[in-house]
């Protein structure tokens, strides 16, 4: 399945793009996706970030549904 990923802040700098589509396996978890991203962008693994699945913060066990919008969120700095 296709996973649509949005990158923000320093993570967009590492991936050198604001968004991209990757192919992933069905029922993959956030942990699986992180592993896939670490292989593609080793520098990303060294960064702290949260993963939003359809605009909800997920944890490592969150299953990524079909056509989900994934966002990689570096530490928040609002205020």
């Amino acid at each position: 399945m296709t996973i649509n990923i949005l990158y923000f802040g320093m993570l967009a700098e590492i991936s050198q793009q604001a968004k991209e589509s990757l192919s992933g396996k069905e029922n993959m978890t956030v942990r699986d996706l992180k592993q896939q991203l670490c292989e593609k962008y080793p520098e990303m693994c060294e960064r702290k970030f949260k993963v939003a699945v359809n605009q909800q913060i997920g944890d490592d066990t969150t299953i990524i549904p079909l056509s989900a919008e994934i966002a990689l969120l570096p530490p928040f700095a609002g205020g």
Partner: protein
């Protein structure tokens, strides 16, 4: 009416002007059940880094999620505190040092509710809303990604 709690636009391009804050206060003069306003203003500090002084912050956000999160924070605060009015504005884009990037404005019948709600809302914004900031340093375009403590 504020009690319908409609989602509101929070993001403002660039700094929030003192005039905007003043106008917001003035708009509440007709609401005579209000006895207390609490206002929190976040201002950009000229922190000193090893590369030099911070000259401003460039904010970006996952805007759709951020607007939704602001809405949830508003709903949550209305349910926790006996508020008459609540307004939240946050900058997007560049805000120079000394200028305002966050404006939280709550109104209630009595002071304690307003004090407590404003603190609660600001803390929620700091930890839950996906807003990112580049601290801009010096004239050469250097920057550091900011992280809320």
């Amino acid at each position: 009416m504020d009690k319908l709690h409609k989602p509101r636009k929070v993001f403002v391009s660039g700094a929030i002007s003192p005039q905007f804050v003043a106008d917001s206060i003035a708009k509440h003069q007709s609401k005579v059940d209000i006895g207390a306003h609490a206002i929190f203003l976040g201002q950009i500090r000229a922190d000193e880094k090893t590369e030099g002084f911070v000259t401003g912050i460039e904010y970006s956000a996952y805007e759709e999620m951020a607007e939704q999160t602001f809405h949830e924070i508003r709903e949550d605060a209305f349910s926790k505190f006996d508020l008459i009015c609540m307004h939240i504005y946050h900058s997007i884009g560049v805000v120079p040092t000394g200028e305002i990037s966050l404006f939280v404005f709550v109104s209630s019948a009595h002071r304690r509710t307003a004090f407590e709600a404003s603190e609660y809302i600001v803390e929620q914004i700091k930890t839950k809303v996906p807003i990112f900031g580049k601290e801009l340093i010096g004239p050469a375009g250097e920057y550091i990604w900011k992280e809320n403590k």
